[in-house]
Amino acid sequence: MIEKLYRTVSPILYRIERLDEDKYGYLLIGPMILVLSVLAFYPLVRTFWLSLQSDDLYGEHPIGEFRGIDGYVEILTGELNIILNYPFFSLSDPLSSALVVTLLITGFSVAIGTVLGLGMALILNKEFRGRSVARMIVILPWSIPIVIQGMMFYLMFQPSISPFVEPLNQLGILSSRPLGSTRDSIIIVILIDVWRKIPFIALIILAGLASVDQSLYNVAKVAGASKWQQFRLITLPLIKPVVLIGMIFYTISSMKVYGVVEASAGCNTVPTLTCLVVDTFRMQRWATASAIAFLTALIIAGIVMVYLVKFRDEVDTYE
């Protein structure tokens, strides 16, 4: 039996042995290409193709006739707003439109989260007793299930049980039922997003801090620089590229925010872009949902481009 198996396998092994480097490489990445073609590249192409069709609410398959980019135009001009649960973009009621809400959440979350993450990275970079315990605690928020992240803050802002809601209401910061109001819920979602993303960006910055040449600080000390000057003139310029990379990943993932919204305030209170796609998909409007999904990807691409241009400037001036 084993003899037989060996006889069938060994010619194959022999042929693998004789492949040149190029072909050997392609052989090894073959399974990856196959899996990603079916599960990633085909779906992307298909989504794009679907986005060029029209909706068919009554047919057997929810896809109608080809109509090119008209679907995109209708979404952007607001002609489709009547059929959507909430508009993609609307000037008259910005807090109800998916694009504005998503950009608000992302903008505030990235700004606050990056500053706090930088602070956390600087603290965790110091040598102190119990540092590994501190690191362990700090990565907890990132690693717990998204649905529980949402649930935690849902429970924290329930007026009947939470000790925060009333004081914050009296200060005029939140309304008496924060999870029912769009403005307050957006603040809460930003809070959740900051809370769970700080560890991620802090770890990336921490890796950047580890590669800073320590002798630079000795030179600075001899020259009489204060801690703040050391940070501003040595640390910050050297870790800027890493911070920018962290911010790119942070931004991409905040633009997709969905799970924490669904688990806390709900999509009708905080309409994000992903919410809009899911709701439209559930209405059997596959073509429109695909178009919004692709528009979202394009908007994220635009933002990433801005970062990359900044990143290149940064690297150029440094070199």
């Binding site: 679907l50 590994s132 690693s143 935690m152 429970l155 809370w195 801690k227």
Partner: protein, 305 residues
């Protein structure tokens, strides 16, 4: 800052500020500990709040920061409310399936990217980055179509996998394969060439060298990748939510287990809190025992570009 305070002729605050100005080193130490404690408190407070809420029992209004009463029994009661253990079991099984698929495909590809020189390596890596860049919604509809058995390829129909673990394991593979490959590529490329050459001189085949020399040496990398994939799948929301009907018998995962408590009639907040704590336990255990791996995996996956 000190000018404003010292006017109040040596109050407590004034003395404190003087002390701080005169001893910059101590000031930084104090600042450091204040920062550290506040970060730890911010991080841990939601967990603490869950615990207070869970043990306080239902129906208490206007709760403070300390529990009114301690009732550990709630952690037993939740299992009779919703079969949360079944949801967690499903989550773990689906995460394991994804880990196995990702590691098998990922080690082959990671080895190729890390140790074999072939043309088109750069563009192919970029392709991986593009896959992880697109939001989940850009894949949703075709994957839904494919996995619910409504896609026809010539004379064949795709099998209906909705309500099976595969309807989630396949999208998760797509989501986590890129980071698996990034992590493994880094580890494979760090192994010195000499070891592999020695094995080849001894007469091992190429694949033999991969499985007998390279893979054992990069075991830490394989473990790192496995843990990152496991946690990513366990915490995932979007496809878990879209690719199942929500019954534990239909392989619904933790997402639905937690949401089931939220949708239950009556405000059973202590059950929601207790269920959330139970749901956190598996990852909390992983974080405690594999903290180093997680930190390494996250930073490498992020910085690899």
């Amino acid at each position: 800052m000190s000018n404003a305070v010292t006017d109040e002729s040596k109050g407590r605050v004034g003395q404190f500020v003087d002390l701080m100005v005169n001893n910059p080193y101590d000031t930084y130490r104090i600042l450091f500990y204040v920062g550290l404690t506040s970060f730890l408190m911010i991080t841990l407070f939601p967990f603490y709040w869950l615990l207070v809420l869970a043990v306080s029992g239902g129906g208490t209004y206007g709760m403070g920061f300390l529990p009114d009463s301690v009732n550990i029994g709630v952690f037993v009661e939740i299992f009779s409310q919703q079969p949360i253990h079944l949801y967690i079991f499903n989550s773990i099984v689906i995460a394991m399936i994804t880990v196995v698929i990702c590691l098998v495909i990922g080690s082959l590809a990671g080895y190729a990217f890390g140790r074999v020189d072939f043309r088109g390596k750069g563009p192919l890596m970029l392709l991986l980055l593009i896959v992880s860049y697109f939001p989940g919604i850009a894949y949703l509809i075709p994957l839904y179509e494919m996995l619910t058995g409504s896609l026809t390829v010539g004379p064949f129909m795709t099998p209906d996998l909705y309500n099976t673990p595969w309807a989630m394991a396949f999208p998760f593979t797509m989501l986590t394969l890129p980071i698996t490959i990034f992590i493994l590529t880094t580890f494979f490329s760090q192994i010195p060439d000499g070891l592999e050459d020695a094995a080849r001189v001894e007469g091992t085949t190429r694949l033999g060298a991969l499985f007998r020399v390279i893979l054992p040496l990069s075991a830490p990398g394989v473990v790192t990748a496995a843990i990152i994939v496991f946690i990513s799948v366990y915490r995932e929301f979007f496809f878990s939510f879209m690719m199942s009907r929500g019954n534990p018998d239909d392989w619904a995962v933790l997402v639905y287990g937690i949401l089931a408590f939220e949708q239950q009639s009556g405000s059973q907040h202590h059950f929601m809190a207790a269920a959330s704590i139970v749901g956190v336990i598996p990852v909390a255990v992983l974080v405690i025992f594999a903290q180093k791996h997680i930190v390494r995996g996250l930073t490498q996956g992020g910085l690899k570009e």
